[in-house]
Amino acid sequence: MDAVTENLDLYWSGFLTSLGICLVAMVGSLALGTVIAACRVSPVPPLRGLGTWWVNTFRNTPLTLVLFFSAFGLPEIGINRTFYFFGVSALVLYTSAFVCEAIRSGINSVSAGQAEAARSIGLTFGQSLTLVVLPQALRTVVPPLGSVIIAMFKNSAVVGAFGVGGDLFSTGATLTSARGFANLPVITGVALGYLAITLPAGLLLQVIERKVAIIR
């Protein structure tokens, strides 16, 4: 394990880069996914159509392709941003489809009477969704949503290959190819780095799940 201990500084900077990508993408995809879920259950047909199209497009396209279109397609039509921006937004777009479906299943689990009661006391659709339905729905979907987010943390390894670089996974590639360290210890170090993100995230989710649980 000399390869890891000698290069702790590289691993640390790779870990921070990966963690940064994960946190930005988590906030982005949770927010966007909730909006898309609201679209999918809204009474406005064009919004429902948009939501359905969104989920069908991004849930059914491999992440590498979304990244590819973002990093190479957008510059082709004159949109030039940093690769970090392209990479993280592609990850957000892709994950938002899964977040949306997890939240929609939560919304469906809230009994219709709740929404009807909200509407009957005069709340608008937006109010009944944000004040009555979503708070109940989100509590129910903590476990599936957590899985989606943890999957996204791991997907962040792919983002590094699209011009971002410097993340945990690229650090591993640099150590093995350019600096000639043996593969196995280096990749084990990379795996430990990802576990250091995902295992605490899993524990946090358990805590949240217990805190927000409601008895129906």
């Binding site: 990093a71 190479f72 510059p75 082709e76 030039n80 690769f83 590094g160 290959a161 699209f162 011009g163 971002v164 670089g165 410097g166 690229s170 590639a173 640099t174 150590l175 093995t176 190819s177 350019a178 600096r179």
Partner: protein, 312 residues
């Protein structure tokens, strides 16, 4: 039967026409073409060779004597490296490595037509030499210690090195120092590659380095304006510059050294010394070979023939 004959005649005719159209670029380097053409084409018969070139004098028992005696040689080269060894659509090879091999063969009294070409990709070069598939290898073959344990290197005949490729209209970047001077400029290379490590010392900030999995992704990003430059060995860059039809060019000096050698059987010191002597004696042909091949690509500098290393 009749139809088949007509078909054969037609295809033979087409082949002949195709060869004629290609302007006499050593059709005999193509195994297929020489097979199809030899029965009908009276020209370029190899029979007149011995009278034209006197048999060279070599000490009996050496590789040179054996090759000169046989009048044929098998050379390993790359078939997919523009400027160095690239197989055209008609099957003929062109490039600097190919020309260097022809110079050596000529010194052995072997005509270019009698060279048999063998594709040696980077991964199989040592195996091809050790297994006797080839007599020597000229294939953008960087001399290094690990390889020298299995084979012997003659040469070097060319010093490749890391260089920078930019868009043709770019005048700001003239060398790696441009990245130190202007932290806004970005440069692309491949994750974990030696060039990506070498360029770091010229960077003002880490963010300037953009890393992809392949160089073609870097070239695409250069084309659509996402990065300002691509850096790796000049030979790889030359390939992209050549394929871009003038969109990319190479700038600045080479700032690392990758000496290319000619691979031969381990321990064949006489043959190694013969090759080194041949290169020294044929400097004009060497320079002409560069000008006719890799030298055609904009931004390349004519090489100086490097001093040969000791044969071991």
């Amino acid at each position: 039967m009749r139809i088949r004959k007509i078909g054969a005649a037609l295809s033979a005719g087409t082949l002949m026409f195709a060869l004629a159209a290609c302007g006499g670029d050593d059709p005999a380097t193509t195994p297929g073409a020489s097979g199809g053409g030899s029965t009908e084409e009276p020209t370029e018969e190899p029979s007149e060779e011995p009278s034209e070139e006197p048999p060279a004098e070599f000490e009996a028992g050496t590789t040179m004597a054996a090759l000169a005696e046989a009048g044929a040689v098998t050379v390993g080269t790359k078939f997919d490296q523009p400027g160095f060894g690239l197989q055209g659509l008609d099957g003929s090879l062109e490039g600097f490595d190919v020309e260097v091999a022809k110079i050596i063969a000529a010194e052995l009294g072997i005509a270019a037509d009698s060279i048999e070409w063998f594709e040696t990709t980077s991964a199989i070069r040592e195996e091809a030499i050790e297994g006797g598939d080839v007599d020597f290898v000229v294939a953008t073959y960087t001399i290094n210690e690990e390889r020298a344990q299995r084979i012997t290197f003659a040469g070097p005949y060319y010093n490749a090195g890391q260089q920078i490729m930019v868009l043709t209209e770019n005048t700001e970047i003239t060398g790696p120092e441009a990245f130190t001077a202007n932290p806004e400029l970005s440069v692309c290379s491949v994750t974990g590659s030696t060039p990506s490590e070498n360029i770091r010392e010229f960077l003002a900030s880490e963010d300037q380095l953009v890393l992809f999995e392949t160089y073609s992704e870097c070239a695409d990003s250069l084309g659509n304006g996402q990065v300002d430059a691509v850096t790796t060995d000049n030979v790889i860059l030359l390939g992209f510059a050549a394929a871009s039809e003038g969109a990319y060019k190479l700038v600045g000096e080479q700032f690392t050294e990758e000496p290319y050698g000619i691979g031969i059987t381990k321990g064949d010191v006489e043959f190694c010394e013969f090759i080194n002597q041949t290169l020294q004696d044929n400097e004009d042909a060497y320079l002409a070979a560069w000008d006719a091949t890799a030298g055609q690509i904009e931004g390349t500098q004519a090489p100086e023939l490097p001093e040969p290393s000791d044969c071991v």
